[in-house]
Subunit: 420 residues, 2 copies
Amino acid sequence: MYAIDAVKRIASTPLTARVLLREYSQRIEEVEPHVQAWETLDVARALDEARACDLGPTRGILHGIPIGVKDIIDAAGLPTRCGSPIYASQVASADAACVALAKAAGAIVMGKTVTTELAWFHPGKTRNPHNLAHTPGGSSSGSAAAVAAGMVPIAFGTQTAGSVIRPAAYCGVVGFKPSFGLVPRAGVKSQSESLDTIGWMANCVDDIALMAEALTWDTSFRLPDTPVAPRIGVLELPEHDQADAEMLSAIESALRIFASAGANIRSVSPPAAFNALNAAQTTVQLFEAARSYHCEYSQHKHALSARLAGLLEEGRLRTWDQYRAARAVIDTCKAFLPRVFDGVDVLLLPAASGAAPAGLEATGDPVFNRAATALHLPALTLPHFRTGAGMPLGIQFWGWSDVALLQAARWAEQALLRHC
Amino acid sequence: MYAIDAVKRIASTPLTARVLLREYSQRIEEVEPHVQAWETLDVARALDEARACDLGPTRGILHGIPIGVKDIIDAAGLPTRCGSPIYASQVASADAACVALAKAAGAIVMGKTVTTELAWFHPGKTRNPHNLAHTPGGSSSGSAAAVAAGMVPIAFGTQTAGSVIRPAAYCGVVGFKPSFGLVPRAGVKSQSESLDTIGWMANCVDDIALMAEALTWDTSFRLPDTPVAPRIGVLELPEHDQADAEMLSAIESALRIFASAGANIRSVSPPAAFNALNAAQTTVQLFEAARSYHCEYSQHKHALSARLAGLLEEGRLRTWDQYRAARAVIDTCKAFLPRVFDGVDVLLLPAASGAAPAGLEATGDPVFNRAATALHLPALTLPHFRTGAGMPLGIQFWGWSDVALLQAARWAEQALLRHC
């Protein structure tokens, strides 16, 4: 069920928040043993909250909606384990700002979802609901899987390279990484200050927009019922040839559908400066994370995976000159954005190189996600396409503004739903 | 004693880290009952650490140096109370990145220093060591007072408006707010993401530079023994007439001393865009803080001071349009900086409107600090001047880069020490 429908049904009875909560908790009982999306579940307290919702006045636009919270984001009274034994017993005394904002709008925290180790590459226990032998993607693995498996309608993630868009695409849900600065990061474990961005997953664009309004108090996120057809730029990043045949075919199909639904479509070539963008994002992430995670590295190295320790060692070796040069590359690319978006509302590109790879030892490659994160651009992935083997294939939009992106994505979603 | 001398004496005996630690702890016993700079003291564990320092190899450039940590910054095993009853029992399970970096260089955490309520205006218990009836300034009240009273040689603060430079100036110590992004903020309570900056206080510029190298691993902070005379721009902000007669006289005296010591001095007029800069910084801080502190406001309003609740309510009313306009004002002013710094190495201006005001109910006005914080410029205050009543008067430098600022400040400090 979409959150936006659930809210209406709770408001007009016969659905109570408690009944809704029970439905989701039953679904969790069924599928969680297989999917393993949760680090900590808090169903009893969530039920109490649902009961309180039913007894009191409407709390806000998320009244009674259960949500998942990535386990690097504080939720009061629950541990924030960050996917690391270092934080096994660390209980948050307060909500992160984004959780407090969602709760104030009526959301109910169902629990904490699995993150990869310290929100980087080393995977947690979560499996892809579409095929348990495949990765759900990362680092917001549990949030994507929980939404995909119907255990909550909305869940928070964070993205530093591709940690919202990639798992959402792999798990076949809508994922949204807003523009940098839209949502406050207070109470979120910091990895890379100039990149870390809070995002969320849901099953439709309306639910994404509902959460955006709850978090920003900005009513511009109430999308028009009949969005106009957007002008879509088809972007071929320098890494375009890393997309596989099934992904390219999904993009082709999407373009045919959007064109026949009335979208104006043109090709957009990125400026040459973009050739250095993914490497610049990587340098910034490595440099900043090695410093942000200095406590973990210098005091708890034995508790880090070899993979994470290696990344932090790589980051320690990056110099200030290299870091400043990488930041300058990103700034140069940002300066081209008005030209890149000239005459288009959104850019269309793959959300990942293909569907979720088989295996649980890796979480896939953020090759199609690094650039938007570095550029602070809002990005959104839509599901609706599948591989021959039935795995979800996400297409991705980048927007010039959060609202413009969600409007275009809602139009595109309707076009896809009519055809898929 | 300066940290830089203590490190040398520990390395060459006869001073051991333990003896040094005892000296500081005795000083704390003497003066803390009057000054009340500490929220939490951890002397026993600090002594254990000092003993371990003496037994092992040199840990780094801060080997055996006790430090204070503002109580919005996590130090493992100690509470992070944030100057608020909301966090009375919140114990940090890990060090903030800056604390871990300092510890890895050999620093020993003596305890947590008093912050104003959630690092804003409502004061804590701390008094100005130069006159106990005067404010120490805020929000890094305890750190400034602890260094001024000789209880630790270096202490961390943070600045969102004027919370490092102002208390340092009021307490008569050297205060440094580096450029935005120099020091990672992981593990620090977030108030305003685009403004919050970690800084520190010490008794000389060399100690400031020592900590800068420890936190950044950047050896450019090893300042030359004989710095060259800088080119000093005398900056009159639009708020210049808020400086009182004694402050203006201190600036005049400083300029005479710097000129006779060989500095090239010229007047610098800020561009007209600067007229809107302080108001823009205020809007950004109010807007971001109201969102970052939404948990405190929506769930613990009864535990907030009326002053803080009022600020958060003001921030809630600022719209996205107002916020974006304020960010645009700051960006416009940033674009003028190359012209403002054209031909000068540093800018000189008051660190505050005057000396620390009498009374403990307010912490003074950040009127001369908001601009550098918003512009992400490094700023430093030097003591050495006094009012007729004997209270410290801080002069302030802004730099184009952190290293250039510290070099110029070290030259200026030597010139002042020869004359004061």
